[in-house]
């Protein structure tokens, strides 16, 4: 009992300028929301993809992050032979003592400089990062002042490209290679030799953390429980995945800003849609009357105009998604409140974001179309026929 969809589609096509302008307004609103989601999702996906499922990160008890953790070598020596830790071909436990610090580098995006994580590791530490693939150069040589940097570091910081020298600690460090890890957050780190960097910063005995690989999932949990429970060690042990996951809160402010801005813009777009639909109702007044004469009910008229508004909004939603798609894959950085350094990540438009954008657009269309559709349905036949 409702009017055909093609009727609405053609009416939208006839008023194509108005349709496009209104839809584009809705589209821009949707784009703002989708872009902020793309930032937040990109960060979240990068962090979710980080951390090895069998890895356990050990820090000093009370330390939320590696940067603020003081982890003693003595403690490391106490725990590296705990049962449940996997071993490499040579029979050494896959336990890596690491030191983490931050340096300030000028990036393309932030010429004033951003903090970057520098991580000192031993050869075992490199072995634990076996999913990282060298894309350029080589790994640093233990005992030398050399650095191998993550892909995003090389991409974003001109000073940290292979062949260049970084200045921190007690001298210069030559960048000798670039690695790419499927664990996105790792690509924002600079890896150097543990003993060299620890000596530079006077941290030979007090380092930052230990990274352990468990033999299997059961051992993983058991290891965490055991380390946490040992009062002598006084450490905090958690799965590496969990450590990264907690850092997503950096995106909260952007999510908040994006949502508030989009909500305010939505009010404007909603009014604009209302204007367009009122004009449609006014212009088609005689048509409405005629349809009623033909036997269409008020409900059918209401449904038809509401549908038209929803179609208009859906078009806007699609336009908005198209507008925002080019940002997909762009790389940007945000500060992590856990590591106090920058995490670089790629913006991601997820299917969920697209769906949410479309729903958001439809909400605008529904809110903007309801009153005009109601007005159309309420018209008396004769009044309708005389107008227009």
């Amino acid at each position: 009992m409702i009017l055909p969809l093609s009727y609405n589609l053609r009416n939208l096509a006839v008023r194509r300028t108005t349709t496009l302008m209104t839809a584009l307004g809705i589209g821009l609103t949707v784009a703002v929301l989708a872009a902020s989601f793309a930032l937040v999702d990109g960060l979240r996906l990068a962090l979710e993809a980080s951390g090895h499922p069998l890895h356990v990160l050990v820090t000093r008890k009370g330390a939320d992050s590696e940067l603020v953790s003081n982890f003693e070598r003595r403690v490391f020596n106490d725990l590296k032979f705990k049962p449940g830790i996997a071993r490499n071909a040579k029979g050494e436990p896959l336990a890596s003592l690491e030191v983490v610090t931050a340096i300030n580098l000028a990036s393309i995006e932030f010429p004033e400089g951003a903090n970057v994580t520098v991580r000192g590791v031993t050869p075992i530490g490199v072995e634990l990062r076996d999913d990282a693939r060298l894309v350029e150069g080589r790994w640093f040589t233990p005992g030398r002042r050399e650095a191998t940097v993550g892909r995003l570091i090389a991409q974003r910081y001109p000073e940290a490209r292979p062949g260049r020298k970084l200045r921190f600690g007690r001298g210069e460090w030559e960048v000798v290679g670039v690695y790419d890890s499927p664990q996105m957050a790792r690509n924002s780190e600079i890896l150097v030799d543990l003993n060299q960097v620890a000596a530079d910063f006077g941290r030979e005995e007090v380092l930052s953390s230990a990274l352990l690989r468990a033999t299997d999932e059961v051992a993983h949990q058991a290891l965490i429980n055991e380390l946490e429970a040992d009062p002598r060690l006084n450490v905090r042990a958690r799965s590496e995945k969990e450590y990264y996951a907690q850092q997503t809160s950096s995106g909260d402010l952007i999510r908040y800003l994006g949502t508030v801005v989009a909500a305010i813009m939505a009010v404007g777009s909603c009014f604009a849609a209302m204007n367009t639909m009122y004009a449609a109702v006014a212009r088609r007044s005689r048509e409405i009357g005629t349809l009623r004469v033909l036997g269409y009910s008020r409900a059918a008229i209401l449904a038809s105009f509401l549908l038209e508004s929803l179609l208009l909004a859906a078009l806007g939603g699609v336009l908005g998604i198209l507008l925002v798609l080019p940002v997909n894959g762009l790389t940007t950085g945000i500060g992590s409140f856990t590591t106090f350094t920058e995490i670089a990540f790629q913006l991601r438009i997820t299917p969920q974001t697209m769906a949410a954008s479309l729903v958001f657009a439809l909400l605008m269309g529904g809110a903007g179309g309801l009153l005009p559709a109601w007005q159309a349905a309420r018209k008396e036949i004769l009044t309708a026929l005389r107008e227009g």
Binding site: M1, Y7, V293, G295, I381
Partner: protein
Amino acid sequence: MTDDVVIQARRLTKEYIRDEFHIVALKDVDLDVRRGEYLALMGPSGSGKSTLLHLIAAMDRPTSGAIRVLGADLAAMPDPEMARWRNRHIGFVFQTFNLIPVLTALENVELPLKLTHLKKGERMEHAVTALKLVGLGDRLHHYPRQLSGGQEQRVAIARAIVTDPDIILCDEPTGNLDARSANEVLELLRQLNRDYGKTIVMVTHDPHAARFASHIRYIDKGELLPEGRKPEDWS
């Protein structure tokens, strides 16, 4: 009331009250129209002809009086039912055609059928038949703006008859047409009345058009004059 009387108005009155204006558009109209009749309503502009037609078509409600069409008491009919009733029993033809500009001729004619239980194929069949009947079998996919006025009005007539209504109401159907197109439309209406037995009430200004009808009644200042009487200053 015999079965034969399809439209019956008794003391039918319609008043318009708008701001300070109080207009009596129709006053105590008594009217009987029999099945198969072709009635022409004439009268000066503003005399209430359209108002009467609108009341018969259940497009509006009377201020007082009774109006029964095809046995239904229109004054008492609830709103949603009125819509269904109009769709089933009434075909309405406007002076200004009122086709939907974004729909083709065929789609315009199909429109009232969408409210019935007919399937898509059947609807198309009926619509094509109606358009062929009005002589537009070759213009099915034309949009209103691609048609002449006469053709537009014939599409409107096809739309009015496609549901096979008992009564066709025409409000100055030739008012916007040139003489030739007007004749085509009038021929068509006569054919519908003669060959298909449709009851037609046609409002017109044009004495030539009125001659196509079987009776002529005059309305003056909201009053329906007795059979055979014309308004005093009628030419």
